[in-house]
């Protein structure tokens, strides 16, 4: 069956490059922090860590359907990232990093506003 098993060149079978992975994780982390969702996201990610591979396989299962109905960019990348449990830990660290940065910025802004008012 040509096309069914022989498509080794298809993006479905690519591995995730470290650069692409970092880019993806950064993007997700920033989106989470910007929406004030750090605490819930950390709790959620931390609590589902063991299931990340199963999650990736569920995404494989629904891939033909989901991707034919919705145009989700990066579906495949997220799926590949989930295959490796370590990536969830990296995402957690990225979220905590941006959260610390963001809160430091807020504190500074507050302090500046205070001094201005005086």
């Amino acid at each position: 069956m040509p096309g069914f098993f022989e498509r080794g060149d298809s993006p479905d079978f690519h591995e995730l490059t470290p650069e692409r992975r970092d880019e993806l994780l950064d993007k997700i982390a920033q989106a989470v922090v910007k929406r004030n969702l750090t605490a819930p996201a950390v709790f959620f990610l931390e609590s589902v860590k063991p299931l990340s591979f199963i999650g990736s396989q569920v995404m494989v299962f629904f891939d033909p359907l989901v991707r034919s109905v919705f145009n989700i960019k990066g579906y495949n990348d997220v799926r590949l990232a989930l295959e490796d449990r370590g990536n969830l830990e990296l995402l957690l660290l990225a979220i905590e990093k941006y959260d610390a940065e963001w809160r430091a910025k807020m504190r500074e802004e507050k302090a500046r506003r205070k001094t201005k008012a005086q």
């Binding site: 957690l92 660290l93 905590e96 959260d99 610390a100």
Partner: protein, 291 residues
């Protein structure tokens, strides 16, 4: 100070061991804590089943899988018991493939307590894929969606189904749900389009999502998680896994609460020491080694 630092960074494996003991202990040596308080949402389902005239038809949809069984299966047993005590007729169906199999199991677990006749007192229609579309289809015709039951017997051979054409002939729907398709589909189709009373028994994970439906009256009642199962077991006076598990549940909750208190005490103590935010402020505990 050393103790505070330890509190801020308790090794995750210590937490694992404590949780394991908190759950296993009370199962081995029951603490006999007082029974759960029954919520108004559980009471509403019980009262509705009580109020139906004897012999009413109830659809029970098994939309859960083994992963949710400890929470939802005890509800299924308790609810089916209640239906059969009140001599109601039960139509079992499933929107999850594992659900139909679990329904067979549920019936076999309680059948010795009742004199049940298959096809007359209850039927098991089996599973269909398609989610909300299946509900919409049985809204006008059961036979179109389910030409035969789980044993491949055509519906017209089942006395119970000869009186039931579609959802309009059903007094209420109980959905035992662990996700999608589940309660939202039943509320949106069976309640909104066909004006049936919909009750739900669900995992605790999804229970909070359905409070808007309860407030607006789109759902008549809800059992949430193993605690919900324990409530219904208490109402039908037949304790099972739900009631048995509540001791462990209590102790485990208490343990987790203590851990959360530890984390916060340590966090504030360390923050006072280091005004710039302290090590904990940079994201709580340092990342524990991935297991």
């Amino acid at each position: 100070m050393g103790f505070i630092r330890w509190l801020a960074n308790i090794d995750r494996r210590i937490i694992f061991v404590v949780i394991g003991l908190a759950v296993a202990g009370p199962l081995l040596v029951p603490l006999n804590l007082p029974p759960v308080t029954v919520t108004s949402q559980a009471r509403a389902i019980y009262d509705a089943v009580e109020a139906l005239p004897t012999g009413s038809t109830i659809v029970v949809s098994f939309d859960y899988d083994p992963a949710a069984a400890p929470e939802v299966h005890p509800m299924a047993l308790a609810f089916l018991r209640h239906c059969f005590i009140k001599k109601h007729k039960v139509i079992i169906m499933a929107l999850w493939p594992q659900g139909a199999q679990l329904a067979v199991r549920a019936i076999s677990e309680i059948s010795s307590e009742f004199d049940l006749k298959y096809g007359v007192d209850y039927v098991n229609l089996g599973y269909k894929p398609g989610g909300a579309i299946v509900i919409n289809l049985i809204g006008t015709s059961f036979a179109k969606a389910f030409p035969s039951d789980i044993n491949q017997t055509p519906l017209n051979q089942l006395p119970l189904m000869s009186k039931v054409n579609n959802l309009k002939d059903v007094a209420m729907v109980m959905d035992l749900s662990a996700g999608d398709p589940g309660i939202p589909a039943w509320v949106m189709v069976a309640n909104a389009l066909f004006q049936r009373k919909v009750a739900g028994g669900t995992t605790a994970v999804s229970a909070p999502q359905f409070f808007p439906y309860l407030q607006s009256g789109q759902m008549m009642g809800q059992l949430g998680g193993m605690k919900g199962a324990a409530e219904y077991e208490r109402l039908v006076k037949h304790p099972g896994l739900g009631s048995r598990g509540m001791d462990s549940q209590s102790v485990a909750h208490a343990v987790i609460i203590v851990f959360i208190i530890f984390a916060n005490v340590a966090y504030f103590a360390l923050r006072r020491k280091t005004p710039s935010g302290g090590p904990a402020a940079a994201g709580g505990a340092p990342p524990p080694a991935a297991p």
